[in-house]
Amino acid sequence: MNLSAFIIKRLMNMIPTLLGVMLLVFVLFNWVGGDPAYILAGKIGDPKQIANIRHQLGVDRSYWIQLWIFFKQVCTFDFGRSWSTGELVSDVLLSRVGPTLTIMVPVLILETLLATLFALWVSYVRGSLTDRVVMVICTVAMSISFLVYIIVFQWLFGYRLGWFPVQGWADGFLTNLTRYAPLPVMLAVFVSLSPSLRLYRSFVLEEMNHDYVRTARAKGISERAIMLKHVLRNAAIPILTNVGMALPGLFVGSFLLEVFFSIPGLGREVVESVNRSDFPVIKAITVYLAILTMLANLLVDVLYRWVDPRVTFK
């Protein structure tokens, strides 16, 4: 099967998944989502007012009609306005994506680079004391909860030492990148480095077990050259696969980081919109994320097969 047929087949497969996601979100919200009318009614809400609000929001219509409206919204990518603020949902999402990416993209880049470099270095000295010590440090670092890291880092670097602002977000992209992003980015890289390092180390080691490495060594090529030229190239495949699978997560970001550092991002928006029972926003975020996830998976699969000629399209 050639490339374009593969892509088309996968795109076709996305439709039932998307429908499944829509159905799941709809069922979840109507079953377990709190009734937004009570929150919007204010302190003194009588039944007449509650009924009016529900009518205005459109939730008193039959489920089939609401589901059909949802379907049309997905096709036109127009989810209307937020129930609590009246803001256009597309505006909400667009304004939130920027801050999340400003944090997550540097995190991904830095973390991949550092993890790969460290993985190569540790594999270079595999079995030695350095290797074991680094691995144990990684394990210990991974055992501490993210929450603890946030609390301690914010207190230490923001409050005690004053190197970074404790929280906040500005308007200008550059200001954010240089002033407000560094502490959360550093924190996130620190936390995600350990698991990535362990994973990439296993990729590299697995590569180094292959026969061609033994052949190269036998031919007298230096260990460094082997690592940097051959092993890295081949280990890059699973590493990049791993990076690709992390791409959808970029957009949701980490809501913990966003809450503690007051970053107006998408992760925080998800939790807040669930608390407010703001269904239009929840719908939009879920649908967009689902599409992004599926596209990212497709991209990774295509790249994987394109890079590794041994694998054929099925």
């Binding site: 039932p16 998944t17 377990v32 144990v136 909860s145 603890v148 301690v152 809501f255 669930v274 929840i282």
Partner: protein
């Protein structure tokens, strides 16, 4: 070196390799110690009175014994002075006919027991409760949640993965669809949804974690079953008349159990950590129980005012246990699959 005639199974061989790794043995001991403490706490031998207020609020760790302050009618809150006597409601009170009896009984009610002095090696929390006792009691919840939720997730993932990988076809397509739908949603959304269905409670956390954490196991098991169902030993079993169920669970399962074990331990670690986040979000155990997660959620406001001991106790215990389990799981995996070690 094993004898050529020694036909010990893969598990016995693995155990032998495992024994040689000192780090692995140490981590096994630490894990066993924590489990022991957890059972002792469950049986009521330790930390039975963890919720008793034994000291003034936020007492620092100390080697000497501490007593709670004699809590008499000390002035709390802002100073208030009144020019009138307290309001009398006896003319409208439905309880007025019983005033006399009430007063007499009040005078007879027994006085509180004498306050005991206790050691506070890890200081006291906001309410004056012994942090060490809380850590021990909290291990019960955190470890049980981790273990049971991991068990649940592994069981769900294994069954679904086995079905998908073994039968293939329509069943596999349906599973794949379900898997795609669930993994396309942001996990936080699923967590909040499951939390909303069930009321707050101990079982709820286990359900939340178990029902949202099975996808990794599913993926692996499916791949394994896809591989194994073509193997000769399975074909042979089929020829001998073994049923589907028998082939799936009596024949293939033992051969993939090492994958399950590793996944199980990874999930235990992941879920113990996830419980902290859930507690922070308010989806943790109810208020009359304590877990490492609820303790760490409290430390958020404590660090800035210089109270570091609860963070150290809960964070430290969790770090030690999780590290031990991780190292132990690594060692088990290495012992079972020696090729990776060379």
């Amino acid at each position: 070196m094993t004898h050529a005639t020694d036909s010990a199974g893969p598990w016995a061989l693995a155990w032998r390799r495992f024994k040689q790794d000192r780090v692995a043995l140490v981590s096994l001991c630490i894990t066993a110690f924590f489990l022991l403490v957890m059972f002792a706490s469950y049986a009521g031998l330790l930390a039975r009175n963890w919720s008793a207020e034994v000291a003034p609020s936020y007492t620092a760790p100390t080697l000497q014994k501490v007593t709670p302050l004699a809590n008499t009618h000390e002035q709390v809150g802002l100073p208030q002075t009144f020019t009138d006597p307290p309001v009398d409601i006896s003319d409208i009170d439905p309880l007025t006919p019983h005033y006399q009896e009430w007063q007499q009984l009040t005078a007879q009610v027994a006085k509180a027991q004498a306050a005991q002095a206790t050691h506070l090696f890890f200081g006291a929390d906001k309410w004056g409760r012994d942090v060490l006792a809380k850590v021990i009691k909290g291990s019960e919840v955190s470890m049980t949640v981790g273990i049971v939720a991991a068990l649940l997730s592994v069981m769900i993932g294994a069954v679904l993965g086995a079905l998908a990988g073994y039968f293939g076809g329509v069943i596999d397509a349906c599973m794949e669809w379900l898997y795609n739908v669930l993994t396309s949603l942001p996990s936080i959304l699923l967590i909040l949804a499951v939390a909303a269905v069930f009321s707050r409670g101990f079982m709820t956390i286990i359900l939340i974690l178990g029902l949202t954490g099975w996808t990794g196991v599913y993926r692996l098991l499916r791949a394994e079953y896809l591989q194994h169902r073509e193997r000769t030993y399975v074909r042979a079993a089929e020829a001998l008349g073994a049923s589907h169920a028998s082939r799936m669970f009596r024949h293939i399962l033992p051969n993939v159990s090492h994958v399950l074990l590793v996944q199980f331990s990874m999930n235990v670690v992941g879920f113990i950590k996830a419980e902290v986040i859930l507690s922070f979000l308010g989806l943790g155990v109810p208020v009359d129980m304590v877990s490492w997660g609820t303790m760490l959620a409290e430390t958020q406001e404590e660090l800035v005012i210089g109270k570091w001991w609860q963070l150290l106790a809960a964070g430290g215990s969790m770090a030690i246990l999780v590290t031990a389990i991780s190292l132990f799981a690594d060692a088990v995996r290495d012992a079972l699959d020696p090729k990776l070690n060379e």
